[in-house]
Symmetry: C2
Subunit: 459 residues, 2 copies
């Protein structure tokens, strides 16, 4: 049986198994789901074993476990280290999901006329990581695995991969490989394949502003006591100037400015501003003066509030002058900014702009480094050829806005470059209610991965 | 038996009854407590009947009912209309209460060494309104009621008294009186009695800022799409200039500027800035340039956020660029601003400053008009003399920062002036966790009210 025949006759099974994985609410940001996170790890482990992997193991860490497995067919052949994550983003706000986030269902959409799987993690990253497990099963079952493979599937990607670095350091020998292959990014469209070759880094902090030592009656005290919500709003507002530059001193010092030629390269990607605005339902785009949308999301750093809360947020009215207000703030970073320094700059600046009437605390969450991956390596060329084979078109190299902090980590700790061969779409509502992943993308991904191994193993 | 003897021998009973009332969570802002709100109305009704009131009735309105009762001893004698409210503020955040908000307990505090009752509504306004019911019982039981009395106790004060206006208009004859007596304000300290003679008005709005039509991945879209939290922060920040003046065009047009003599009068109230800061745990006060704390809270309008929310507010980190952000914003008003016009000015301004990338909706909640009450009326002088009798000191006339919108309403609809003879303390944590009311204040209030009736009835 050929690989293509095996895939064709196992489509329903591959889908049923993914559904089972998607039903496990493995939310890493909330410790209440600790048991589910572990259940997802065990599910991946079982399927790797069933597909024929050796030395499969649930490796404990200080946080969530990492699933490892490998198949060494010949030590003289190249080795691909497949990375992915089985944890998912929180599913709130639940009321905005058309179907429950952990009860996967298939529905057609405009860009997925043949149906898409709706569930938290459908695309990010359970759907994409599971393609690798199934591609491996195909190659094992049909005797077409052409080189060695190692799997490292973690459970803390959505909370900063805190324990992956120590794991890599402690397992350098075991993780030896020639390249890391990751499917956790997007293509431009189902008829326009692309490969991400630049990723933004991330600094993520939580801030707390405290005014009076207790909630106050806004009538009795209002006007004489600094209101932490108003102050927090003022502080957040001051983080951008009127050209939407970020005002933290030193923030742009290490930003790599691209040449006109490099900017022109980026702007070759197909982009339609009117469609972009229509898709998002916005009257206009917004951002740093002097850059367009592709540049703002690809090569420029940002500062966004991801959450804010304080005071009375229930039904009706309460005339309270609250004691505290909070915000979660993240900054996307570009080469050569580094997450640790930017977090420090933020902290220093945020504390310095707090007026006398309040106290502020800045708590760093997690970070990740920006990276640029090569587009002339053997692995990149194998991925390019694999996509050209399955899509009938050469993929476009793009700069992605998201962060996969582990790419920098692999380079630093394992000396390995990565190839980001992802298959999702930006419109798949990653991190949002109604996340989904096209059936077309799921099966096309599995097929493309088998070609990648074939081309990468070739002399 | 004298009034004083009756009070002395019924202290425990008066306390037990108040506890029973405080156990009813009559939160008017949240419709989930509708049944409790009604239970509180019935409790007041029963106690008025038991004390000897006539024509006691639960009067339905479009919202929560109003309890009415009266005792006309002689149509030729003056009539006091007692107003109060049996509804309370929400009790959230519950985790900041040392004891549950609806299980009253007594504990001593620094300013209440003889004990204070801790419960939501202990002071605002169940404790204070119930003093009137018990003062009435005393006067009835001891044959000392010296003039007529009518009670109008409502259940929507904390949500803007929406249905009190229509009730007053529809019951003008029944509500005929010579003065309205209200205990819903504070004195300066337990050894420094005072009477509020100015109250700020209120405009309360809720705003919603919508950016993209769905929550987005902040890595993929961040930097190119207006983030509604950042925009809301910018809009809120812009509502005050660098002198903390409010920037809404026309906002100050009708503000009554006080003369130097009037400002001097207000500044006669005892005030210690260091103690004020220490009590609130703040490094400095804050507010409009050119005014001190007493002026900022007494004679100047304000704009405060009472609540804000948007994006991910759970544990950990979520890199979301949210679709929506919300805030509850209230403005305290002074003579001669009016609530309706200020709400309109806010709405117009807020809509005008929204950038193209977002849509905003402003939803007015409730409002109330600012008032100044006379300090030379027969009723004010009776209150002054009553306090002088029980406290041994003449009360100081003060300008309060809070809003009791119904004072303007009574003037407009019933042609009646009010006397604001309250007995709480600003430090009693009204609208806050651990609200409390001194036992000293509760009994002193009951005693003072009986004297008020005596002096007011005197020729």
């Amino acid at each position: 049986m050929t690989a293509a025949q095996y895939l064709e006759s196992n489509k329903q099974k591959f889908l049923d198994e993914l559904f089972e994985l998607l039903r496990i609410p493995s939310i890493s940001a909330d410790t209440a789901y600790k048991g589910d996170v572990e259940a997802a790890a065990f599910y991946i482990k079982d399927k790797l074993i069933a597909a024929g992997a050796d030395k499969v193991e649930i490796c404990p860490t200080a946080g969530n476990p990492i699933v490892y497995g490998e198949k060494i067919i010949d030590p003289n052949l190249p080795t691909v280290l497949v990375y992915g994550h089985y944890d998912v983003q929180p599913a709130v706000p639940l009321e905005l999901w058309d179907t429950p986030p952990f009860e996967p269902t298939i529905r057609a959409t405009e860009v997925h006329p043949n149906g898409a799987i709706f569930a938290r993690g459908a695309c990010d990253d359970k759907g994409q990581v599971y393609m690798h497990v199934k591609a491996f099963e195909i190659m094992m079952a049909t005797g077409t695995l052409a080189c060695n493979v190692k799997f490292m599937i973690e459970g803390e990607e959505e909370v900063g991969s805190t324990n992956l670095g120590p794991f890599c350091i402690a397992n350098k020998e075991r993780l030896k490989a020639d390249v890391v292959l990751i499917s956790d990014t997007s293509i431009i469209a189902n008829d326009t394949p692309s490969i991400d070759c630049g990723l933004r880094g991330l600094s993520y902090v939580e801030v707390e502003v405290t005014g009076p030592n207790r909630d106050l009656h806004s009538g009795v005290y209002g006007g004489a006591v600094a209101n932490p919500i108003n102050i927090l709003a003022k502080m957040i507002a001051s983080m951008h100037d009127d050209k939407n530059h970020i005002t933290i001193p030193g923030f742009y010092d290490k930003v790599l400015e691209l040449s006109a030629a490099e900017r022109a390269e980026i702007n070759k990607a197909p982009f339609n501003l009117e469609e972009y605005k229509k898709d998002l339902g916005i009257g206009d785009v917004w951002g740093e003066e002097g850059f367009n949308v592709l540049e703002r999301t690809g090569i420029r750093p940002t500062l966004d509030c991801n959450g804010i809360w304080g005071g009375y947020i229930g039904e009706g009215a309460k005339t309270v002058l609250p004691s505290k207000a909070f915000a979660k703030i993240s900054m996307r970073l570009v080469p050569n900014q580094d997450s640790h320094s930017i977090t420090e700059l933020f902290q220093k600046h945020f504390e310095s702009i707090a007026p006398a009437g309040v106290k502020v605390v800045v708590k760093p969450h997690h970070g990740g480094e920006p990276v640029v991956t090569p587009i002339d390596s053997k692995a990149y060329l194998a991925a390019e050829k694999a996509m050209e084979t399955t899509y009938g078109k050469k993929p476009i190299p793009t700069r992605g806005g998201g962060s996969i902090p582990i790419v920098a980590l692999f380079e630093r700790e394992l000396g390995l470059k990565s190839v980001l061969m992802g298959f999702g779409l930006d419109s798949d509502a990653l991190h949002s209610p109604n996340e989904h992943y096209g059936l077309f993308n799921y099966y096309k991904g599995i097929e493309t991965i088998t070609y990648f191994f074939q081309y990468f193993a070739a002399k």
